[in-house]
């Protein structure tokens, strides 16, 4: 284990995991936890040190998100969207926006949320209906964003909207009078991730709020989501690890059928699947992260593959963990009950399982000519 991972692990064991069920009950991550993460510089982990961040490489970033995800998927989700926003701001934000926001974003004093999904735009982001109408040097945003992680508490939203020149991303200050938000509570999983619906009504932002260029919204979204996908893949590894810990502890102590559960072959089969899935998922995440660090374009597909495997494996592990805990696993407030519900969310966010499959298969079909590729036969 690297020294960094040991530090992440110790932090989670001390500050996050013991309180995760309390966060879940309260449906919020308390300020002291935000501050504790900030004290380590982890809200700004993706931003290079030269720009005031912590400047982790992608493997270290993935290890951080795995360990946080092992303790609490809600906190990991908040870290995910903040990291995506911080990356977009650093990478494509205007000089004015970076100067205004980056110092507080890297410390977590300003919390970011990622606003792509809308009532009619989920897996298909081309359906985004929110508009950004140019008005002099400003833009005026109108639309509704739904299922926004951290939306209840965010200070800064990264919002995707249509402009006359195509899709674009904007930074929207939560104090803007054109912003209103309503909490979404009692969600199946990641219950402490403070989801909200965010409404933009005549929301005027300066031209410097544009992230990237008008028409480049899909590129900004793809870049940010690629990072988010790595984070969710890593967080899913954390869920598998937590399921494994809980399962071996429980089955090593529970006597049924004349012996400890751990001595039953059928129990061992499930435990061995969990461990194998954990190692495989970690390797895929590590490969995707390594390719990112190396600037290899294959990282995009590697990240889809890692997220697909890790999230589906997390669902399998959580299902088996609940099964092997019996009624205890169904009990309100038991961690494996939470892992099970959180794992299902991992299969929906940052590209659902089906969208992963469609995309990964598309990549595989690059090996043969596209059906309508006129250049293919040449």
């Amino acid at each position: 284990m690297t020294p960094e991972r040991s530090a992440f692990r110790a932090f989670v064991d001390e500050t996050v995991a013991p309180r995760a069920d309390e966060f879940e009950r309260d449906e919020r991550i308390p300020d002291d936890v935000y501050k504790a993460v900030g004290a380590h510089g982890w809200w700004g982990a993706v931003v290079p040190a030269s720009a005031g961040g912590t400047g982790f490489d992608m493997r270290t970033l993935a290890a951080l998100h795995e360990e946080i995800g092992r303790g609490c998927s809600s906190l990991r989700s908040l870290l995910t969207v903040h990291t995506m926003g911080a990356y977009a701001l650093y990478r494509w934000g205007s000089a004015a926006a970076r100067e205004q926001w980056l110092p507080d974003v890297v410390t977590g004093a300003a919390r970011m949320a990622f606003c792509l999904t809308e009532p009619q735009a989920g897996s298909d982001a081309t359906m985004v209906a929110t508009t950004a109408t140019p008005d002099g040097s400003d833009f005026v945003l109108d639309g509704v964003k739904r299922w926004i992680t951290g939306g209840q508490v965010a200070d800064l939203f990264l919002v995707f909207a249509r402009t006359p020149r195509g899709p674009a991303a904007f930074l929207v200050d939560a104090r803007n009078p054109g912003v209103s938000r309503s909490p979404i509570s009692n969600v199946l999983g990641t219950r402490a991730s403070m989801l909200a619906e965010v409404r933009l009504t005549g929301c005027r932002v300066p031209g410097t709020a544009l992230v990237g260029a008008a028409g480049a919204g899909m590129l900004v979204a793809t870049g940010a989501l690629d990072l988010g996908r790595l984070s969710v893949a890593a967080g899913s590894c954390g869920i598998i690890d937590a399921c494994l810990d809980a399962t071996v502890a429980h089955t090593a102590g529970r006597v049924q059928g004349g012996g400890l559960l751990r001595d039953h072959q059928l129990v061992r089969a499930k435990v061995s699947d969990m461990l194998t899935d954990l190692y495989a998922a970690r390797e895929l995440v590590s490969r995707a992260a390594r390719l990112k660090d190396a600037g290899d374009p294959e990282t995009i597909n590697a990240t889809w593959v890692a997220k697909y495997h890790a999230s589906t494996a997390a669902m399998r592990a959580a299902t088996d963990a609940v099964q092997l805990h019996g009624a205890l696993g169904c009990a309100d407030g038991h961690p494996v009950n939470r892992y099970f519900r959180d794992a299902k969310v991992m299969e929906i966010i940052e590209g659902s399982t089906q969208i992963q499959q469609v995309t990964i298969a598309e990549h595989a079909y690059r090996r043969v000519p596209a059906a309508n590729a006129s250049g293919g036969a040449r």
Binding site: S94, G212, L219, G223, G295, P297, E298, A370, R378
Partner: protein, 86 residues
């Protein structure tokens, strides 16, 4: 723009789509070779191969549509860098 640049770009695209051959002016998105997800791969490739960060004003799909368009982007950025240091 040099033939070398065009060849490097062509080689990358054909490496990612082994069954396809394209001309330098083919619109890789229009002919169904590439999807919008591939655009991000192209950005990573261009930045790491030619050693510059695509500036916001150049972040347009039109700049990534063909070997020719990408080569023109590389030429503009190389000129900017050369101008900046000279």
């Amino acid at each position: 723009m040099s033939d070398d640049t065009r060849a490097t770009i062509r080689q990358f695209i054909c490496g990612r789509f082994p069954s396809v051959s394209i001309s330098d002016t083919d619109d890789i998105f229009a002919i169904g070779v590439a999807t919008s997800l591939f655009a991000m791969e192209l950005v990573i490739f261009v930045e790491n191969t030619f050693g510059f960060q695509v500036p916001n004003e150049e972040l347009e799909m039109a700049n990534f549509r063909s070997v020719e368009a990408i080569a023109a982007l590389v030429a503009r950025q190389s000129a900017t860098v050369a101008g900046g240091t000279g």
